[in-house]
């Protein structure tokens, strides 16, 4: 594994990569770390176990999980439909999947709030069914589905494209039901990609601010404050609490980092398996 590559340019590219990475990402993030270390261990634990902080983490992670699971279900269906079927408007649908990447989160937040609050069209519809969408956890989940869907679809699509449909035909020929075919033949193939998409959507949802903040209602009592909001609250309060904000940010950072690391390992294992 450690034999030296004969391709030139290792030192230079390593140098530039590490330098830019440090300057733009790592050094600023280290400041967050440094600030949170100003708290003693006891204070740190005290702070992150405060009821409103715990609740915000529960809300962020819980809603992001629900949204990511829903995104996986819809993502698989969407990717499947886009890859396997032909129907009018397919290209348009395919092209617009990335809209949530490109649409500014503030615009998404404002627009979703308008649509799903009871003065909006969809909000009124849901209200008549007894569902309160905006200013509730439902609203947070809706916003997170919106920002997360492209991650899942775009992760699965290439895998499905490469998967020849002869597999499924063979399985069907052997008498397997459609569901069994999907579960036993198709699903194992897309699983690593689905996990990647799931992880990215989840990580994005947990840290999301712009699109969630308008629709959530930020009520501590209803448990609709997300972690990003708590960080901003610490910073905007009359007694600016940098250490507190940094400490919560640190926990959020660690969660993001672990999640990314897991994703990279999964991808690594997956690529090894396909190469073998």
């Amino acid at each position: 594994m450690k034999k030296k590559s004969i391709i030139p340019g290792f030192g230079l590219s390593m140098g530039i990569t590490v330098a830019m990475l440090s300057l733009i990402i790592l050094i600023p993030l280290a400041s967050v770390l440094a600030y949170s270390f100003r708290l003693s261990w006891g204070e740190f634990i005290d702070l992150i176990t405060r009821p409103n902080v715990v609740q915000a983490f529960a809300t962020s992670i819980g809603c992001a999980l629900i949204a990511a699971v829903l995104n996986c279900i819809f993502g698989v269906i969407l990717a499947w439909v886009l890859v396997r079927y032909d129907f009018p408007g397919k290209r348009l649908m395919d092209g617009m999947i990335e809209l949530p990447f490109a649409l500014p989160t503030a615009v998404a937040g404002i627009t979703l709030t308008k649509m799903y609050s009871d003065s909006g069209f969809l909000g009124r519809l849901l209200e008549s069914m007894g569902i309160k969408a905006a200013y509730s956890k439902t609203g947070i989940v809706i916003a997170m589905i919106f920002i997360g869907i492209p991650f899942v679809v775009r992760a699965i699509q290439p895998v499905l494209e490469k998967l020849p449909d002869t597999y499924e035909e063979a399985a069907a020929m052997l008498g397997a039901s459609r569901f069994t075919t999907f579960w036993k033949v198709v699903f194992p193939e897309i699983r690593p990609a689905l996990l990647t998409g799931f992880g990215l959507a989840l990580a994005r949802g947990i840290g999301e601010y712009g699109s969630v903040i308008y629709i959530s209602g930020n009520s501590e009592k209803n448990g609709t404050q997300v972690v990003s909001y708590i960080i901003m609250q610490k910073l905007n309060s009359g007694n600016v609490d940098y250490e507190g904000a940094a400490a919560i940010a640190l926990v959020l950072l660690i969660i993001s980092f672990l999640m990314l690391f897991l994703i990279n390992i999964i991808q690594h294992i997956a690529s090894r398996r396909t190469n073998a």
């Binding site: 594994m1 450690k2 590559s5 391709i7 340019g9 290792f10 230079l12 590219s13 390593m14 530039i16 990569t17 590490v18 830019m20 990475l21 733009i24 990402i25 790592l26 600023p28 993030l29 400041s31 967050v32 440094a34 819809f74 269906i77 969407l78 439909v81 649908m93 092209g95 617009m96 999947i97 990335e98 809209l99 990447f101 490109a102 649409l103 500014p104 989160t105 503030a106 615009v107 404002i110 627009t111 308008k114 649509m115 909006g120 969809l122 919106f146 994005r204 840290g207 712009g210 904000a245 940010a249 959020l252 950072l253 993001s256 980092f257 990314l260 690391f261 990279n264 690594h268 690529s271």
Partner: protein, 280 residues
């Protein structure tokens, strides 16, 4: 019988997709356009040509261009490093590069403030450089701050598109060329670059799209409307201005960003299509 049920499944799946697509993606888009044009074309035009909007457009374009430029350079070099060489800590390095993908933009803004802000630890260094050069560069609450924050959030977009392509391509060709004594640059230009052309373009488009839409991180480091505001901040300011009129204007400016986003998506599709054809 079987074909019949197959048709039903197909119909149901397409139905679900279309409903999801319309509810989650098309409706918000139509909502923006409807709200933007509610007061007629004239007020729409006025909103788009307001001095604050134009200034925000300028800052947005500067930030997007520079973010794309810096991230392209970085993306090319980093993906070359990750895919062409084996070294210890490679997994950690690629994870670190991806951090901005999953980091809350709020933290990004906070990080810059804590580093370069008035009480940040790098502030004396900046003052020292300013004294030396007689300049007045500020890395928070200024256009450079907006640029930096934008670079941060879009940092991995390009490398992430190129890395899988380079992995798939392997190293044999580069190794053969190196054996024959070709330089770093020649190898890159003649062998590597043709493979990643489409991936790079695709990455640039995604990067640009994300760059001009960034809100959270930029919000933390930009406070002066008409000076350092980007379009998303201007939208927020208009939305918060509270009168029915200004909310329509907020959606008018939003529609501008939506238009830019759509252009990016169309470009992306062309690139994808071309790229796929080039692969064959």
């Amino acid at each position: 019988m079987k074909e019949h049920s197959q048709k039903i499944v197909k119909g149901v799946l397409i139905g679900i997709s279309v409903i999801f697509f319309v509810l989650m993606l098309v409706m918000p888009l139509l909502e923006v356009i409807y709200r933007a044009l509610k007061d007629g074309l004239e007020s729409y035009q006025r909103a788009l040509t307001a001095p604050n909007t134009l200034s925000a457009l300028k800052v947005t374009l500067i930030a997007t261009l520079l973010a794309v430029a810096v991230n392209t350079i970085f993306g090319l070099i980093a993906s070359w490093l990750v895919t062409k060489f084996d070294f210890r800590g490679k997994n950690v390095l690629s994870t670190l590069i991806d951090i901005p993908f999953s980091i809350s933009p709020v933290i990004a803004g906070l990080a810059y403030i804590m580093t370069f802000g008035r009480s940040g630890w790098a502030k004396p260094a900046i003052d020292w450089i300013n004294d030396m050069l007689g300049t007045d560069i500020a890395l928070v609450f200024s256009v450079p701050a907006v640029v930096l924050a934008t670079i941060f959030v879009t940092f991995p977009f390009i490398s992430r598109e190129i890395i899988p392509v380079l992995y798939a391509q392997g190293r044999d060709e580069e190794e053969a060329a190196a054996m024959m004594g070709a330089s770093w640059f020649t190898i890159f230009r003649k062998i590597t670059f043709p493979h990643i052309r489409w991936g790079l373009l695709y990455g640039i488009i995604l990067c640009a799209a994300r760059a001009f839409g960034e809100f959270g991180a930029v919000y933390a480091v930009s406070k002066a409307r008409g000076k350092t505001f980007t379009l998303p901040l201007e939208i927020d300011a208009l939305y918060m201005a509270g009168s029915a009129d200004s909310i329509t204007q907020a959606f008018a400016v939003s529609s501008l960003l939506v238009g830019m986003a759509l252009i990016m998506l169309i470009l992306k599709n062309i690139v994808e299509y071309r790229g796929k054809r080039a692969d064959r």
